[in-house]
Each structure stands twice: as C-alpha cells, then as structure tokens.
C-alpha cells in the first residue's frame, strides 16, 4: 500500500480583491514506504502549496490526498513538514537541545532518556557542542540541521522537505545532502523532497517528478537507480548522471520554464 497518494489535486487561491490564482492544475502521484522522491519545478509553480496540502495545513480545491490509507483533512499523524523558511520555524526561546526535544515531547516523550536521544540526534546532524546555544546564535546551515534533527526526533514515517537547502552555500549543501541520505538510510523514513536544483534531485532521489509552470502538473516521471550509498564525486561523475541532467534541462526548456 502506498504511504502517500495524491489524486487529481488542484488548488486555486482567492485573493482579497476577488482575483484567483490557479497554483496547482492537476497533480496525481503515489509514494511507496521507504522511498526518497523529489519534485522539481520552477519557482512559483506551487511546490510549497503541494506540500502544505499534503501536510493538511491548507485545503485542496479539488482532489484527494491519502496518507496511510486515510484521507487528509488536518495534519496527519506520523508526518512532519520541514518548512522552506526553516529559520522562522525554530523556537527562539528554546536551546538547540530544547528544539530537538520538542520533536520527542510532541510524541508525549518527556522522559530523561529523551534528552539523550535528542543529544545523539544533534550529534548525527553534526551539531555536537551546540546543544545549549539558541537557534538564532547559529548560521543558516546549522539552523537547518536543527530543524532536521527536530523533525527526525519525532520519527515521522513521512518527512516532507520544502527546498531545505535552497538558501545554503554550495559546500554546506553538499554536506547536508549526505547527512540527510545517511539518516534516511538509517531510519527508514519516507522522504518527499522539493528542490529547484536538478542535480540535487538526481543525487538524492529514487524517483523525480518534473513539474510544469503554474498551473502545475507533472510533465515527466524519472526513475533514478544509481547504487546506494551514493557519493558526491563518483555518483555525480557518472556519464548517466549527466545524461539525465541534460534530459531534464531540455524537457524544462521545451516547457518554457527556467
């Protein structure tokens, strides 16, 4: 049974003046448990809208979203969304440790061991030594690590990530990509990832869905079968990697999208 099923989703925003924006045209897809899948699409095509709908935070205009066999009508259990504006999603009044513990507390785990578990997650994302810092004392890359550790502390079966590395520098980005893959392989979480970096999507995913401009629909599905664990140098150097990348570029250009 798929962990997530999106059936003919569309979303129209109504503005105050009465104008409407058709953000999502018609999207259908299925995600199997344990998969790492990505959506790639141009800016403003409705990627955030799609994730917010799946997370039960906004209501779709038409269509259905089914998580774990149940139709979504509010935030589903066992699902966490890591927001595009991750810096705004951290609790300024909690330390790094406190933020990560929040993920456990939300599960009802207030125990003493929860602190140890949070500490080991903080170490896994490479923030050892910063447990008692406040998030606003950290760099963007470090804040994103906190947001990821907090999400993983909740042990979600489905993790939605909205351009999590979009605002980070290239080096931090590569490093966090590998951290994420390692955690995903260890924890067996299903990840639905959004990016507008084509190579990032190829490097990370089992499957990629290409989105058109607004009103968005899926224009192509690609299966990516590079061996895992992947490696930033060897995987990206494979001839097929370039082939897939070029194909996606061509496809996007023929769609008229940037």
């Amino acid at each position: 049974m798929p962990i997530l099923e999106v059936q003919n989703l569309s979303k129209t925003y109504r503005q105050m003046g009465g104008e409407t924006t058709l953000a999502i045209g018609d999207i259908s897809c299925k995600v199997e448990p344990g998969e790492f899948v990505s959506f790639v699409g141009p800016s403003g095509c409705g990627k955030t809208t799609l994730l917010m709908s799946i997370a039960g935070l906004i209501a779709p205009s038409t269509g259905k979203i089914i998580v774990h066999g149940k139709e979504v009508s509010g935030p589903p259990a066992n699902l966490i969304l890591v927001f595009q504006e991750f810096n705004k999603s951290l609790f300024a009044w909690r330390s790094v440790l406190g933020n990560v513990r929040f993920g456990l507390e939300a599960r009802g785990n207030h125990s003493r061991e929860s602190a140890n578990k949070a500490r080991s997650l903080i170490e896994l994302v490479g923030l050892k030594g910063f447990e008692n810092h406040y998030p606003w004392e950290l760099s963007g890359g470090m804040q994103q690590r906190v947001a990821i550790a907090r999400a993983l502390a909740y042990e979600p079966e489905l993790l939605l990530m909205d351009e999590p590395f979009g605002s980070l520098d290239a080096l931090t980005r590569l490093e966090l990509e590998d951290t994420l893959l390692k955690l995903w392989e260890e924890l067996g979480t299903t990840i639905l990832f959004i990016t507008h970096d084509i190579e990032e999507a190829i490097y990370l995913s089992d499957r990629i869905w290409l989105l058109s401009r607004r009103p968005s629909q899926i224009v192509e599905e690609l299966a990516i079968d590079f061996a895992r664990p992947r490696d930033q140098i060897t995987t990206r150097a494979e001839a097929r990697f370039m082939g897939i990348r070029n194909r996606i570029y061509q496809r996007i250009n023929s769609e008229g999208a940037p």
Binding site: M52, F83, F91, F102, G103
Partner: protein, 257 residues
C-alpha cells in the same frame, strides 16, 4: 555606557547640591523649600521609625493587587482576542469605548461603588493597567509567525498545547512590554486614588503632610516614592532576566554587542 551613567549620577548630585545651597541661602522661602539635609534627616527618621515603610506597604498592597488582577484577566483576554476573530469582535467595541477614558475619571465612579475602601483603589488601578496589558497581549498573540504555528500543527499539537507551548512563549516579549508599561501607571493611580480618598498610603501621606504644612515631611514622602518607583523598575528588570534570559540575549545580539 558606564561613563554616561557616571555623568548622570554626577549631574544628579550637582542638582541636589544646588538645592541645598539655595535653601541654606534662603533664596526661596525656606518654608516652601527646606534644605535637603533636613529633608533627608526627616526621611531617615520616618524610615527607621517604620512610618514610611508602613505607608508604602499599604500602597503596594493595593497597587500590586490591582496590577496582578489586571494581568490575570487581561493577558488571557488579549491572547484570546488575538487568536479568535469571534472573541475580538465581541470585545472590540467595549474596549475601544473604555480605553480612551482617562483612568482618574473612574475614581468618582469607584467611590460610588466601593466608598473609601481598598477595593476602590484596586479597581482604579485594575482599570488603568488593563489597556496596555490587553493590547500588548493581543498584538503579541496575533503576530506570532504563521510558520511557527504551522510547525506546531505539523507536530500534531492540539490547540490547547499550541497556545501554551508556542503562542504564549512567542508573544511573551510583548506581554512583558505591556506589564512594564503598566508599572508606572499603577504607581500614578495608586497615589492619585489615595489622595482623593484614603486614610493611609504614600499618596495620602504626601497630601496630608502638605495640608498640615509639614513641608519637609512632604518632600520626604516624595523621596520615598521616587525610590519606590526606581526599585520597582529594577525588580522588574531582574525578573525579566530570570524569566526570559533568551530574549535578553537576543536583544543584546540585535543591538550589536
């Protein structure tokens, strides 16, 4: 920073010296402006005899009761108004009608209801502290970032826990602003209400001294009031640092130090 503070103290000492000299030289009627040294002596006497501390105690009992009562009622109300459009619409008109009323106007009304009792002063203080506390709590709750709220929701928190664990801490800096602004208002209103109708309290003490023409004693009362106001502010700052160390540090970071 340290230097400007030091200069400020020097300036204050200079002012007090001028006072002392003017009074000693009897440039102004000494009955109206007694020498500072005499005022301080009387203040010390009244302080050690326990007379002034008793008056201050009487005032603070009323003031803090009104203040905390206002906090207990208007912080929750403000948060509810900030979160729910329905609650906001229900109270908006009443609040907008009452808010511009200058608080001393409530004294005659309160006299009708409560006479010269403590309840009269407590009510007036409660009324005057209500608005800054309410409006700041309302604004704070309303402006909690959507991303923060959505984060709490994606983690499956029920509304009750979202309010307690996210909205309250996120708006706490602004709630504290409301409480801070209300502190001097509280002091002003306790003094005024004691001057209008009371048989004790620091406001009564100052007016009564003036009526009996014990002018040095009147100034001693004012002196006590100044110290009280200063102390209240210091205590508030201390509590602020204890309750919200994160915000103190965040502000320091924003100020670039």
């Amino acid at each position: 920073m340290r230097e400007s503070r030091f200069n400020g103290v020097l300036f204050l000492i200079g002012l007090l010296l001028v006072w002392e000299l003017v009074a000693q030289a009897e440039l102004i009627n000494p009955l109206i402006v007694p020498p500072l040294s005499r005022i301080l002596r009387i203040f010390a006497e009244l302080f050690w005899s326990g007379h002034i501390p008793l008056q201050i105690l009487a005032s603070m009992k009323r003031a803090l009761l009104g203040y905390f009562l206002a906090a207990a009622v208007f912080i929750p109300l403000g948060i509810s108004m900030g979160l729910s459009q329905t609650v906001y619409r229900l109270f908006e008109v009443v609040v907008e009608m009452l808010r511009p009323v200058p608080p001393p106007v409530m004294i005659p009304v309160a006299l009708l209801f409560f006479g010269l009792e403590d309840e009269m002063k407590i009510f007036v203080i409660f009324f005057s502290c209500a608005w800054p506390i309410l409006l700041n709590a309302l604004d704070g709750a309303r402006n909690v970032d959507r991303v923060l709220l959505n984060t709490a929701r994606t983690f499956g928190l029920p509304q009750r826990k979202i309010i307690w664990n996210v909205i309250l801490p996120a708006s706490s800096p602004q709630i504290m602003t409301g409480l801070k602004v209300s502190l001097p208002i509280m002091l002003i209103l306790v003094v005024i209400s004691e001057m209008v109708g009371s048989t004790d309290g620091i406001g009564y003490f100052i007016l009564d001294s003036q009526r009996r023409f014990r002018i040095a004693q009147m100034y001693a009362g004012m002196f006590a009031l100044a110290i009280l106001g200063y102390t209240l502010n210091q205590v508030f700052s201390l509590l602020y640092k204890l309750v919200m160390p994160w915000h103190v540090a965040l502000m320091r970071l924003r100020d670039g130090s």
